[in-house]
């Protein structure tokens, strides 16, 4: 690994270091190297988004690494919002009743 890393872009190495800090801070582990690579990519994208958000913000907000930095926007919304609503739908119409709920025997 160390030989391989020597050939990498220094920015990528730095990113990996930050990602390792994130994993340690929020106790994240991934099932396989492919998943690790995917989460690293999402993490990098989110950090770039955070920089953009901070530049666009008109208040005093700071954006950056959070417990949700390895999630895509869609995953984040599905996991932590109140539910997915299609634009233009009235909220009450968006409720799904039962059909997708997993019930253990």
């Amino acid at each position: 690994d160390s030989l391989w890393e020597k050939d990498l872009d220094p920015d990528l190495l730095k990113l990996k270091q930050v990602f390792e800090l994130f994993r340690a801070q929020y106790d994240r582990s991934y099932s396989n190297p492919k998943e690790y690579a995917r989460r690293l990519e999402i993490f990098a994208h989110n950090l770039a988004q955070a920089r953009k958000m901070e530049a666009e913000d008109l208040g005093t907000a700071e954006f950056g690494m959070t417990p949700f930095s390895d999630l895509t926007e869609e995953e984040f919304e599905q996991l932590h919002g109140h539910q997915k609503i299609t634009p233009g739908e009235t909220p009450g119409v968006g409720i799904k009743v039962g059909s997708e709920v997993m019930v253990e025997s």
Binding site: D57, K84, I85
Partner: protein, 246 residues
């Protein structure tokens, strides 16, 4: 409307930050927080109500799959109150659970619930004279939020696409030192003008944001904060002494 208001400063109102985990139950946690705060303000009783009861006894019975604050209040009315968090604790699993409301003693109840006008001045006035209320916002910017006051535009945070319910606990204005600290001394618009903000309590644990809280700009309908301002009422109209926000 007072210049600032922070219900967290009233003894007993500041309850622990809730953690919804992977359960889409922000709507239930916001409603529970609303009822707990109002009971503390109105009756000086510090209670923690059961979020799990709101999930299990919701009319759709699938609380972790999402819902709305008004569903939570309807459940409280249908069940004639809520059990305590201690008796009926939060499990947060996606698995459906049977409603156990009848097994436990009620520790808090409500008379009814209302939706306020979609107006930030009205919201501030109600907040200052009654207590915390629930709001539903677009949570897009919260994923990467760390601290400070978020002031968005409809382009950066669509106010019509609201998808996360939280508890509004106060409002205030920044001081100039905060602005300098936040932007490294390079304020882009008005270097010395204070920024009015709302203080909101989230349910993503105390590690997130400003110890579980965050702030949104007040006066620009940032992230759709005025779309669904809902609150329970814990006493009969006209039979209450005025309260004042710290």
């Amino acid at each position: 409307v007072p210049p600032s208001c922070d219900w967290r400063k009233l003894k007993g109102v500041k309850s622990p930050i809730k953690q919804q985990g992977n359960c889409n139950c922000c709507w239930a946690m916001a409603a529970a927080g609303n009822i707990e705060a109002l009971w503390c303000i109105r009756y000086n009783r510090s209670v923690q109500v059961s979020v799990q009861e709101l999930l299990d006894c919701n009319r759709c019975g699938d609380g972790c799959k999402g819902g709305f604050v008004w569903d939570a209040f309807i459940t409280v009315l249908n069940n004639s109150g809520l059990a305590s968090e201690k008796d009926y604790p939060f499990r947060g699993s996606l698995k459906r659970h049977k409603c156990l409301a009848n097994n436990y003693k009620k520790v808090a109840w409500i008379q009814d619930f209302i939706m306020l006008q979609n107006n930030e001045q009205t919201i501030a006035q109600y907040l200052a004279t009654h207590g915390p209320i629930t709001v539903t916002i677009n949570m897009k910017l919260l994923q990467q939020y760390k601290k400070g006051v978020i002031k968005a535009t409809p382009a950066t945070c669509d106010p019509y696409l609201v998808n996360h319910s939280v508890l509004l606990v106060g409002f205030g204005k920044t001081n100039s030192t905060e602005r300098r600290r936040a932007k490294g001394g390079h304020s882009r618009l008005h270097p010395h003008r204070p920024i009015p903000y709302w203080i909101l309590k989230n349910s993503w644990g105390a590690e997130w944001g400003e110890e579980g809280y965050f702030r949104l700009h007040r006066g620009s309908n940032t992230c759709g904060i005025t779309k669904f301002p809902l609150t329970a009422r814990v006493d009969l109209q006209g039979k209450k002494a005025p309260v004042s926000c710290p």
